[in-house]
């Protein structure tokens, strides 16, 4: 009985929105970034995306059937997980690896906790860090933008990590996504375009993305160069998975804090961790790790930023 009672702060209004509807709207909001990815990296990227979504749905259905629960693959959550995982993979990722990542995301990232709404960590990111730790070779081979053949190129962040300079790439190229990178993270314009509608409808709140990106910017501006206050903050904001992560992964309802204050703490935490890993860590990019670490801290953040009961 206990699990049927939902305890939350008032007001208890119903907006007439269902989880399923919101899920599919967020899914649609993600489509432009994927389309841009296919244009930039070629049709191989499309296969990775479709394969990832297919395997996420299949894993969800298989596990739910095997444990004799209702099969809920149409609620959109598994599809989003598959889509987001694909967006975090390089366009040339081998398909068996995509399948393994998709299965891991759904099985270990979500179903082990009891399914939708109960997972602690963002399932797509769980899948991604699993792949990153298991097969780093395939996870760090990126293809060159607009070349459509097997030419590989390093991401700007990887170049920065290796040689200390980001290579000559203009902000404009970064903004349009003309750079090596994961499928869904490259084209900033498409990401922002997609995020506009759910932001406007308040399906995703602005607190996390704003504080996350701002914190990363400020932190890299202060510590990003040999002297203080000389870092190329614009570069750090526009590269890597920051925009994708901040708008679409850090804002996941289930795995981020409930209150506004909590969300701000969450965003700042993500921003600092991302910047620290990028500047001093062994990996060029830290977005997935930062969000996962803050996912782990979410229950504690919720606990300490809980709205006070009126009158106490």
């Amino acid at each position: 009985m206990k699990d049927r009672l939902i305890v939350s702060a008032s007001p208890h209004l119903h907006k007439g929105e269902s989880t399923t509807r919101i899920m599919w709207i967020v899914f649609l909001a993600l489509v432009p970034a994927g389309a841009a990815g296919v244009v930039i990296f070629g049709v191989r990227a499309l296969w990775v995306i479709l394969w990832s979504i297919f395997f996420a749905l299949a894993s969800e259905a298989a596990i739910q059937a095997a444990t004799k629960r209702k099969v809920t693959i149409l609620d959109g959550s598994a599809a989003i997980t598959g889509l987001l995982l694909a967006y975090n993979l390089p366009p040339g990722a081998p398909l068996w690896m995509v399948a393994a990542g998709s299965f891991f995301s759904i099985a270990i990232g979500k179903q082990v906790f009891g399914g939708l709404g109960q997972n602690i960590f963002n399932p797509a990111l769980v899948g991604r860090v699993f792949l990153m730790a298991s097969w780093p070779k395939y996870m760090t081979t990126f293809s060159k933008p607009l070349s459509y053949d097997a030419v590989t190129s390093a991401t700007p962040l990887a170049l920065l990590k290796e040689s200390g300079v980001p290579g000559n790439i203009s902000y404009q190229d970064l903004f349009w996504g003309l750079r090596g990178g994961c499928i869904g993270e490259a084209c900033i314009v498409a990401l922002l375009l997609g995020a506009a509608f759910p932001l406007f409808k308040k399906y995703i709140s602005w607190h996390i993305p704003f504080t996350y990106i701002a914190t990363t910017g400020v932190f890299t501006y202060i510590f990003g160069a040999k002297t203080f206050f000389g870092g190329d903050w614009m570069f750090h904001v526009l590269t890597g998975g920051l925009v994708l992560g901040a708008f679409f992964m850090a804002t996941d309802y289930v795995t981020s804090p409930l209150t506004r204050r909590g969300q701000i703490v969450f965003g700042i935490g993500c921003g600092i961790l991302t910047a620290v890993i990028r500047l001093w860590g062994g990996y060029p990019e830290g977005v997935s790790y930062a969000i996962l670490m803050m996912n782990a801290a979410t229950p504690i953040i919720d606990r300490f930023t809980r709205n006070r009961v009126y009158g106490s």
Binding site: I108, A133, W135
Partner: protein, 196 residues
């Protein structure tokens, strides 16, 4: 004879220290990256268990109740030191691979747990078979986990490659893989228990 056999078997199945009692997990997870390491740790722990169980049960009427825990620790630590010195002398490679987890057998809950729960109130022969059973149970559990981890995490068995061109799931041989494997195995044993 049947009774001894019973004492021996219970450590392997019904009261398996790792999967049923969930004791002594630190070394289990830390050294189970390869079968060789798992076997080395298993044998070392079995030796300590056997020795401490026999000595403690032999001295059970002499040890005063109030300071029994420190006494047990001295006995156990003596055997651990023996193992440490033997290993350093005859198998330095294994000693390096197991690292600090050899001295840590002292605080392995299985060893102290058997002393406190069994050896201090049972006869020497019973304690011997209890220690042997628990030790073998622990070793088998270690072999199971390290087997799984070596095959999937490194793609080898006892250091030999199994299938050419197989890209091993490297994460399994990392610490987080150890936690994952033990979590899934515990769930698997739960499932079997519930089916029964």
């Amino acid at each position: 004879m049947k009774k001894f056999f019973h004492e021996f078997l219970k450590g392997i199945f019904r009261e398996n220290p790792t999967f049923v009692l969930a004791l002594g997990l630190c070394p289990t997870l830390a050294v189970s990256t390869s079968l060789t390491n798992g076997l080395g740790m298993g044998v070392a722990a079995t030796f300590v268990l056997l020795g401490s169980n026999v000595i403690i049960s032999g001295m059970r009427n002499i040890i005063p109740g109030r300071i029994r825990i420190p006494c047990y620790i001295v006995v156990i630590a003596t055997f651990v030191t023996l193992v440490e010195m033997t290993m350093k002398a005859y198998s330095p490679a294994l000693d390096r691979a197991l690292g600090i987890y050899v001295p840590l057998i002292v605080v392995n809950c299985i060893v102290l747990g058997r002393a406190e729960a069994y050896a201090c109130k049972s006869s020497v022969t019973n304690s011997f078979f209890d220690g042997l059973g628990m030790g073998v149970g622990f070793t088998l559990a270690l072999l199971l986990i390290s087997g799984i981890r070596e095959v999937s995490g490194a793609g080898t068995i006892l250091g030999r490659e199994i299938i050419k061109g197989f890209d091993p799931v490297r994460v399994i041989s990392m610490p987080s893989g150890a936690l994952l494997v033990i979590g899934l195995l515990l769930a698997f044993f739960n499932l079997i228990k519930r089916k029964k």
